[in-house]
Amino acid sequence: MIVQYDAKNLARLPVSKAETLLVFEGFLNKKAVRVIEKIPSSNGLFDRAAVDRLMLTVHWEMQRLAEEFYHGNRVLRILRATIDTLRATGFPAPIRIVDVGCGIGYTIRWLAAHTTLPKENVELTGVDLNAALVNEANRLARAESLPCSFFHGDAFSNNLAGQIYISTGVVHHFRGDDLTAFLRRHDTETTQAFIHYDFQPWTLAPFGSWFFHVIRMRTPLARHDGVLSAARAHTAQTLVSAARAGVSNLVIGIYGAKIWKTPAPRVFHALVGFRPNLVPRIKENLGGLLGELK
């Protein structure tokens, strides 16, 4: 809400502080109003530099959660199975992994730092609509000489499209028809699989998220947004239904919903889609972590 880009030409748009405040006042969201009131503005518009600094602070902080939850290892497990399956079923071409809404690119940079994927003809990329975050992701990758790259743009556009799409904490931003429309964009000839991680909703998730964010996060925006994200998370049923409505050429399911073989839910689950020919071997590789695929 505080950063907006023109979806067609990617130009940054001015954002009115008063209008943003009105939106949250309409939701009776006092916490959000307090957060927004503190962001500097000039001539009624958010100060761009101040907003970018705030976004960087929040994303640096959010990376801490990914580190604590060993998110890189989690993504690697399913990606490794997917890539091995693709190669075993005779997919010889280079594979491009696209992290949709990559932010400062933690997952992709982690994969570049800790795996041999780039040497296996796998290109690691991230795409985001926020130019400041993309610049930061590229700066960080350069600082550690990591073989990955980040782009400001549309992840599904011809020049940025890939074979495997991943994301973390992105899908809950799409609601109703927008969710189906977002997933429909995977329905192309080139897409081989997608793995979209997001919060798993359950009774205690908003409380747990609130507690964890209070302890671990410092910026009010990160605290507020993190808790809201957990509360807005889609159920597995909503995700799977939307994906099946939008994507015709992939088999859809949920991955990693439960901890080991217990009924205890993981904080994150993943909406996954695979080409039908990959499914038998993927099931073999991932075993019980993979829910029913249809």
Binding site: E67, E68, N73, I215
Partner: protein, 176 residues
């Protein structure tokens, strides 16, 4: 011996504070050196607090009319404090050790179920430990010293947060 145990616990607490206040402020992937520096900074802060405590203790000893009584009173208070601090420390250390097990779920669970809540409880445990220690103290000097040490220990994380926050802000200002 009990005072030495408290000193070691304070040093360990400083190390954890140093680590914690660095987290979320450096977005690189490889940052062992960054965290080591953070831990050392925390240890240094706890040494400053310990030395100030020692100076206060020596001053109290110097002013005391009955040093033997003050010494035994301080040791008794410190021993009572350990009854609170040691189980807390054991919980923290055992959860940190659990993170050596190569299981992402187990490691994450230690964060969510234990290390996070234990971090939240830290100031309350400190207050409870010191109050329990000085509750039945015989001398005012013991009460004063206990409260002085409590204030010092509680301000370590606050000070480190301010310091690391300023460094982070400067870094971000250089970027945008």
């Amino acid at each position: 011996m009990t005072l030495l145990a408290l000193y070691l616990l304070a040093t360990m607490d400083g190390a954890f504070c140093g680590f914690r206040t660095c987290m979320g402020r450096q977005p690189l992937i490889y940052k062992t050196r960054y965290y080591v520096k953070g831990v050392l900074r925390g240890i240094l802060a706890s040494q400053i607090a310990s030395w100030l405590s020692l100076l206060a203790l020596l001053a109290a000893m110097g002013l005391s009319s009955d040093r033997t009584l003050l010494r035994s009173d301080l040791e008794a208070a410190a021993a009572r404090m350990l009854l609170v601090f040691l189980p807390y420390t054991a919980l923290v250390v055992s959860n940190v050790m659990l993170r050596l097990v190569p299981s992402t779920d187990l490691r994450s669970a230690t964060s969510v179920l234990f290390l996070g809540p234990l971090t939240f409880l830290r100031p309350f445990v400190m207050i409870a430990g010191v109050l329990f220690g000085i509750w039945s103290a015989q001398l005012r000097a013991t009460v004063f010293l206990g409260l002085f040490v409590l204030v010092l220990m509680l301000s370590i994380e606050f000070a480190l947060n301010l310091y690391n926050g300023e460094i982070q802000e400067k870094q971000i200002r250089l970027l945008v």
